[in-house]
Symmetry: C3
Subunit: 348 residues, 3 copies
């Protein structure tokens, strides 16, 4: 499989990376260890010690370096060996590991998997509206999926599935008649979806404080950026509101995917409420994310893993999927990503 | 591995297939979903939705169709898409899945894995004597085996193994001196085995109401039909009875195997008593099948799975098995099946 | 992967091989069954019955032969079929399995994996000083490792790792300044290591009856013989003793590895005390081996298995390990073994 390399991938939530305990994470099939140095800055280097191929993530962080738990060599975030505890302490010139550019921004630790010279933090998508912890209380969670990351992207880019896969929580019978549009701006794809005159599932009515049975207009607007990062804004207004998106309340939900291997993916998801809401916002964000983990884990994951199994080693397009109008956004996204990967490979 | 395709395979016991819950079953490496339509007729179609490759068996049956749990497309037993819930509901011409001919007969749901045009229900072997639920109370069970289905066939076609593998239940010391014969009639192979002057294991004596220690003549006559379907009639008469098969009581035991993959198989087994015996027959059938599951699961399965492991990817004949007289039936069966597969492939 | 074949491998501890229960063990990827004949002599033959490829180790030992649990053929330690229980009992000439030369000596059952004609018991390394059960009370244990056996050898040949991997038990801060030497005598490699003025971990102080905080000189001298057999003598003397090895007490620890597959290994380890110590020696040996199993299982094994995973299918040298002075013994050992394997292959 081909991956896009010259791009920022989500590597972890900020709280997953610490000075106390190194984090082992495989990204694009490369074993990586993430840790914070003595200043708290996140660092990412190859997880395999060049001495005896021990797993550095089994070691501990000392100052700015991670100490190998096997024979004690230490490596800093640049991949340089900073200490050899044995004998006179000479450091072989070959004693280094790969270093990955890392940026921490708005709750996310980003990693650059391609040519470090091209790693420009300015190209990181701005998620401050949803994930800036200064302004928002952000509730975050993580799932590991035994499915290709693009199947995960398909899932978010075509939310018509909530009617069927999540009929007992997020969906309703009105979803299949939603008004949808797909908009592309450069490498960014928007999938906007407005469901009208919808009776929400009672668990959602309670969550949104909607009187039982009162109809609403609901929009689910997703922004996708490569490689597989999505921000979904869900908004609600009373049914029949002329310009619902102008007046309704809306809440952000982030969905980020990073390939672990061809057939497995990391999945980070979050929601947030404004800090000005105080404790109530914190409580709601935490409750919402706990509520969402239910269908994500019990309904989406098994389906995605079943898809992956049924696809086996086959390429998605080689299986000739039939296309429905609702696939427009997901297909557009696959085309954009395929094009970016192709361009990157041709430039080599 | 080559399979025989133009033949009826057992797909399920009748009670395994329902309108309420679709059954996912891999047969000859093909993922299939089985369900009953609104008339209760069993249907079998490919399990992979042609839209996004979701697993149809995770969905539910609506009327005559199964509804995909991911985006709601519906497919009937012919493999045709009968409903698209989205937008105007247009159905793409490519929206179809493979359909398999299915016949329900005498407790069994049969499936045809080859050219549908050749699927003639008249060629289904008649198991009415053992499995007709109108006439017999049939007790049925299922095991999944991590072994090739032909190893399973070998196991049933050479019952000399009961002396060694089942010495604490089904076997006895007299088995190795049995009088045996192999008879072939067309594609059908019979393995007839008569053990004389045998003291059965006490658990069998109790089961057959034989006074403790009284010797018997026991016959175990197996009929095999391709691909891997066997009916075993076990009979008992007092030791020394001149024509024991003419006068003794006999009970049927069915053993059906269907390849899941090269190295795994489905295993259905059953026994039955005449309905005229009333409640006693039902009780005995249920007790017998429960008793048999013991050695089948704890003794046969581990041995078959160890064989499979020791054989690895090797072809059976390439390992040059030594042949004993007792192998005559199993070898005949392998030759018949190999010949049928060869004929089928040459006809392509 | 290439293995050395014309050599004695450890196959089992003496107590693992019995007349009562055959032992299945895969060695150099060959499935083998070990058992004791009626005289108590250990025997080793291929585990796969040549009749139907059943696993002989699932059978039982009768006299000098092992009886196949499937159809009752019997094979003795020479691999010859000694009994066919069926019909007239004729034994096909092809009814035999591979036989392996086996020698029991000083608590170990040795197996020869190459040309039987070259199997000379005189070439077995003499472990009588550490493992002769007549003279020593020997405490023995076994672990299964999902790592290549040469990674295990590296682990023992470079004991500098105890400072880091076993800092809470076997190691101390003084280890990295040890005086080390590597000596080769023919195919045997010695790695001698003397740590001076060392404060042992308190759990070791208690074990060796050293007053709390009293400094010691400790030596760890390992002898390696191909393919992967090590005897480690650990000695202790008061810090500053002029010739500590001449006066201190020492205890043997044996570490034997045998490849199961390329990526898995058998690991036998032991310690012993002189029989003249009576019950106290027995108690100490047992306590020591129980204590050691802790770090071996909880610290070494996870690290070795992580190494193996990070190496994947790559050859050790192809990954260009950086070499530190402490690697001298482990590298010498790898060179000797590589050379022996090369010689053996060239002689074919």
């Amino acid at each position: 499989m081909s991956y896009l390399h010259n791009t920022w991938y989500v590597a972890a939530w900020d709280h997953e990376v610490s000075h106390e305990k190194p984090l082992a994470r495989k990204i694009l099939e490369e074993p990586i260890v993430l840790f914070r140095d003595s200043m708290g800055t996140p660092q990412a280097i190859g997880d395999r010690c060049p001495h005896r191929f021990a797993s550095l993530s089994k070691g501990c962080v000392k100052g700015n370096s991670i100490q190998c738990a096997y024979h004690g060599l230490e490596f800093d975030g640049s991949g340089k060996c900073t200490h050899n505890p044995h004998g006179k302490g000479n450091i072989p010139t070959q004693a280094k590991v790969k270093s990955y550019p890392v940026v921490e921004r708005h709750s996310i630790v980003w990693i650059w998997m391609g040519d470090p010279a091209k790693a420009d933090p300015e190209t990181i998508v701005d998620y401050s509206q949803s994930l800036d912890p200064q302004k928002r209380f952000v509730a975050k969670d993580y799932l590991h999926a035994r499915a290709n990351y693009q199947l995960e992207t398909d899932n978010i880019m075509d939310l018509s599935h909530i009617e069927f896969l999540h009929s007992g929580s997020l969906g309703s019978d009105a979803v299949n008649q939603a008004v949808t549009e797909v908009v592309q701006e450069g490498r960014t794809v928007f999938s906007n979806r407005l469901t009208q005159n919808e009776r929400l599932h009672e668990s959602l009515e309670q969550r949104y404080n909607i009187p039982e049975g009162q109809k609403v207009d609901r929009w689910l607007d997703v922004r996708w950026d490569p490689p597989a990062n999505m921000e979904l804004w869900v908004g609600i207004a009373p049914a029949g509101t002329p310009e619902p998106r102008q007046v309704g309340k809306r809440i952000p939900f982030n969905h980020f995917f990073t390939p672990e291997t061809e057939k497995t993916a990391h999945y980070w998801f979050a929601t947030s409420y404004p800090r000005r809401m105080g404790e109530a916002g914190e409580r709601r964000a935490n409750e919402d994310i706990k509520y969402l983990r239910g269908p994500f884990e019990a309904e989406d994951l098994p389906m995605l893993e079943a898809q992956q199994k049924l696809m086996g080693d086959a390429d998605f397009w080689s299986l000739k999927p039939i296309l429905l109008p609702g696939d427009a956004a997901a297909v557009r996204v696959r085309r954009v990503l395929d094009q970016l990967i192709k361009q990157e490979q041709e430039a080599l």
